[in-house]
Amino acid sequence: MYSEKVMDHFMNPRNVGEIENADGIGEVGNAKCGDIMKMYLKIENDVIVDVKFKTFGCGSAIATSSIATEMIKGKTIQEALKLTNQAVVEALDGLPPQKIHCSVLAEQAVKSALLDYAKKHHITLDELNDFHPDEDHHEHGEEYEEA
């Protein structure tokens, strides 16, 4: 079902935890839908010097969170804004169709944290003008039967 990459990031997630006094915090998803991602950023001179996450969710929710933190760590804000869910999926060597929404969530968690940073620091990030993290992010794949 999952690629080795996904299983690796699920079993050995990178950057789990919280950052005290984080510069930006993003939280997307909700418990009702079964996945919440919370992302903490430490930003110095427009560069993401540290990032941590906590995730409530399925294997791919945890794996996408983990790899997303890796993909933006050490990057500038502008670079991080370019992170797409497709890139996350590719970096994980693919996801099953019904799990694509997790990658969308990871992208949104990063953007939410950056938006929070921008708000706190009174910066405008044009890239996020159309960003509404609360919209339904679920894309339905095939449904599998409980056995």
Binding site: C33, D35, M37, K54, C58, A61, Y144, E146
Partner: protein, 393 residues
């Protein structure tokens, strides 16, 4: 991964060696078509007759009230559509519950599109229906009550005898999906006033792809699969000879060993439940405390999600199941967990471990040892857990 611990017996069971041995000759040597009149056909026919009589004996039915199908789902579809269409002149109302298997629910939904009306009974927090609500739901248009014997997720066993008595009193056909109950509960279709009953071989250490429908003599029912005159003209298709032979053997074994089986799986189940409840906080135990399948343990661990739990267990070779939405790719957790009133976020953390004849105490102890660590690891990652940690733990 060396050790593999299978705790998903409600999903399917391994076939018993005795069952396989009974089936083997029918693949390559005694392979005739039971409808053929030559010796190959006659020996096939005899084998089917024997299986039918074994199954009949297992549930207290007559031999000619047993019909073999391609599985439990086909049996459910046949019973419900067959009775609905054959009795449409009498009424168009069907009563079922909110916690049926999809083979029943989706069949009822299909019938709703075709002019039937369906009442979906509620269940309480333990998954039990209310006999009073059932009685009140009956109208003079009601032609069928279809109500599962035991639930596949939370294991709750309904008061089938009482339900059967109500149906009989009102002159309404009573179908029960006994796919999970067969081999785990003593069943006598006459004592329980059951008119139709679905069964499936692969849940009782028999082969996949074979099921059975008990149809009481005199029940008006249409066929689902038309064609040849097999199964007393009611279910067409060349019989799954080795499969049926295996089902017969599995049913025989199940009934012979019923008490021993129940004791074995119940002891291990209770050991598992105690072990987990003692070692883990913020966990709920779901389903009815007493009226439940002997091998079924169903938990909901707060703050974590079921699929990640399953995956982590799987990495240790432990096979379980979850009613979390994430295992099915749908948005909502299982309809059963919703029906018993579990909040979404808690339902997401559900784990079903089902125990069978091959389960050992060592396996259970291993799970009792490992599962709390996994729960803890996932909770450490969970943004929901951090909120309660400080205060309570």
């Amino acid at each position: 991964m060396n050790k593999r611990i299978y705790l998903d017996y409600s999903a399917t069971t391994p076939m018993k060696q005795e069952v396989l041995e009974e089936m083997l000759p029918y693949f390559t040597e005694r392979f005739g078509n039971p409808s053929s009149i030559h010796s190959f056909g006659r020996e096939a026919k005899q084998a089917i007759d024997q299986a039918r009589s074994r199954l009949a004996k297992a549930i207290g039915a007559k031999q000619d009230e047993i019909y073999f199908t391609g599985g439990g789902s086909e049996a459910d579809n046949w019973a419900i559509k067959g009775v609905a269409y054959a009795n449409r002149d009498k009424g168009n109302h069907i009563i079922t519950t909110k916690i049926e298997h999809h083979a029943v629910l989706h069949t009822c939904e299909y019938l709703e599109k075709d002019g039937f009306e369906v009442t979906y009974l509620d269940v309480d927090e333990y998954g039990m229906i209310s006999l009073e609500q059932l009685r009140n739901a009956i109208t003079d248009r009601t032609i069928l009550i279809t109500l599962m014997f035991a639930n596949n997720e939370i294991g709750t066993i309904q008061p089938i005898g009482e339900i059967g008595a109500i149906a009989r009193e009102k002159g309404i056909y009573f179908h029960t999906d006994a796919v999970q109950a067969l081999g785990n509960v003593k069943i006598d279709v006459n004592a329980l006033n059951i008119d139709l009953m679905s069964m499936s071989a692969h849940k009782i250490y028999g082969p996949k792809g074979v099921g059975g429908l008990y149809i009481r003599k005199g029940v008006k029912i249409h066929s689902l699969i038309h064609g040849g005159a097999q199964e007393r003209r009611r279910r067409a298709g060349t019989e799954n000879l080795p499969g049926i032979v295996g089902f017969g053997k599995a049913a025989e074994l199940a009934i012979e060993n019923l008490d021993g089986h129940i004791r074995h799986v119940k002891d291990l189940r209770d050991r598992l439940i105690k072990g987990i409840m003692d070692k883990v906080d913020y966990v709920r135990f779901n389903g009815h405390p007493e009226n439940r399948l002997p091998g079924n343990a169903h938990f909901a661990f707060e703050f974590i999600e079921g699929e990640s739990l399953l995956l982590s267990l799987d990495m240790l070779g432990i096979a379980g199941s979850s009613g979390s939405a994430c295992t099915s790719g749908s948005l909502d957790p299982s309809h059963v967990l919703m029906a018993i009133g579990l909040p979404h976020e808690i339902a997401h953390g559900s784990l079903r471990l089902t125990i069978g004849d091959f389960t050992t105490a060592e396996e259970i102890d291993y799970v009792i040892n490992e599962l709390p660590k996994i729960v803890d690891r996932l909770r450490q990652m969970s943004p929901l857990y951090e909120k309660v940690k400080g205060g309570q733990k």
